[in-house]
Amino acid sequence: MSTLTVSVVTPDGPVLEDAFEMVSCKAESGELGILPGHIPTVAPLTISAVRLKGEGKSDRIAVNGGFLEVRPDKVTILAQSAEKPSDIDIDRARMAKERAERRLQNKQADIDFQRAEMALKRALNRLDVYENNF
């Protein structure tokens, strides 16, 4: 079966580069599934998990926004941060979640509100990827 080369790149260096058979992710316009031979595409991603499926292996990566670039035989994900489940700092994510929830409860200025909401999303996404992997 043909494969796709998937590379996940962040400003702090490449996170992953490997061959997979299918990539499914959540773009801003909805779920996207990509198989080899896909038409070149660019799509922004939401804060979500990217699922990678390959021969007898599957991987999940927590991405914080960014976007996806698809070529027929290559998928590149450019995100400001992206983590494999083994790289997630679970305590930090839990703390971030609690902090964000606390901020959301005592709503003050709206800029704080937005930030807290984003932080909560990121933390929940990390927790989700971490927990569903073990």
Binding site: P11, E28, P40, T41, V42, P44, F67, R71, T76, S81
Partner: protein
């Protein structure tokens, strides 16, 4: 002529200073190594994002975004990257001088520009001169993560989006080699020269959902990545500049110790000669 004890004291203190500068040189050398690696790790990300941005900018004629269009300039933003600590030779002063001259020649009143500084030295420099420092960040680690700079990068881009500034320049030391750093001025926003540089795009893309919305996500991320790239570049330059400065300090200390040892020996010899003369003179007087 200075006394033997004075010279000896100066030799000891110079030796101690030399130990410190030598140690700082070696610390900077290892930090430079790490900084170079960091800058290298960032390259794939920046190349890729540049490629996608360029292909969108070239490919679609109808794509427009406020960040791509020049507007009338009422206020200019200057993002200045310096270090937190000194002892790095001309690293900070050359950047600050350049920015200061630019501002002096271009602007007549403080309402026409605003400064965003990274690093304590830059902040203090402009504050002392009563220039408007809109945002500042200090205490950036020697090996910065993207998250360290993310807030100030996105706030800066936000200033442009909110039309509080109409163009943004960035000033930093570009790392050429361990002994050469160049003060670089870059126009960050608006991204007008996007179409000129770069090779023609290899592939045309489908845009999901459409170009405008992708630009909405992509351009701020691109601008932030440029700021982060400049910071990494500047960090490498800082360590290189500090290493060179400390190396020349160590060399100077060596020279100074050599000179002082010479005059110490001379003084010692003069003292011995004098003593002998005195003894001989005394013995002669007794005969």
């Amino acid at each position: 002529m200075a006394s033997l004890r004075d010279i000896k004291g100066r030799i000891t203190s110079t030796k101690k200073t030399k130990q410190i500068t030598k140690a700082m040189e070696m610390v900077s050398a290892s930090k430079l190594n790490r900084a170079e690696q960091n800058a290298k790790r960032f390259v794939p990300y920046s190349e890729k994002i540049q490629e996608v941005v360029a292909s969108i900018a070239q490919g679609g004629g109808d794509a427009s975004h406020p960040m791509l269009e020049a507007r009338e300039v009422k206020k200019t933003g200057y993002l200045v990257i310096t270090s937190d600590r000194g002892l790095a030779g001309a690293f900070n002063s050359s950047v600050l001088r350049k920015v200061y001259q630019q501002i002096r020649s271009k602007h007549t009143s403080a309402n026409e520009y605003t400064l965003i500084t990274v690093g304590r030295i830059g902040r203090d420099f402009f504050r002392k001169r009563n220039m408007p420092v809109d945002m500042d960040i200090t205490g950036i680690a020697d090996q910065p993560d993207f998250s360290d700079i993310k807030d100030i990068a996105s706030d800066t881009v936000q200033l442009y989006t909110d039309e509080k500034i109409d163009q943004l320049y960035i000033y930093y030391n570009h790392y050429v080699s361990a002994i050469t750093q160049e003060v670089t001025e870059k126009k960050l926003l608006p991204l007008t020269d996007m179409n000129k540089d770069g090779k023609p795009s290899q592939s045309s893309y489908e845009y999901e959902p459409n170009q405008e919305e992708i630009l909405e996500v992509l351009l701020p991320q691109y601008a932030e990545s440029l700021i982060y790239g400049a910071l990494l570049d500047s960090k490498a330059s800082e360590h290189a500049a500090r290493m060179t400065a400390m190396k020349s300090a160590t060399d100077n200390a060596d020279d100074l110790i050599g000179d002082l040892t010479l005059s110490y020996n001379r003084a010692r010899q003069a003292a011995i000669t004098q003593e002998i003369t005195e003894i001989v003179g005394g013995a002669a007087a007794l005969e």
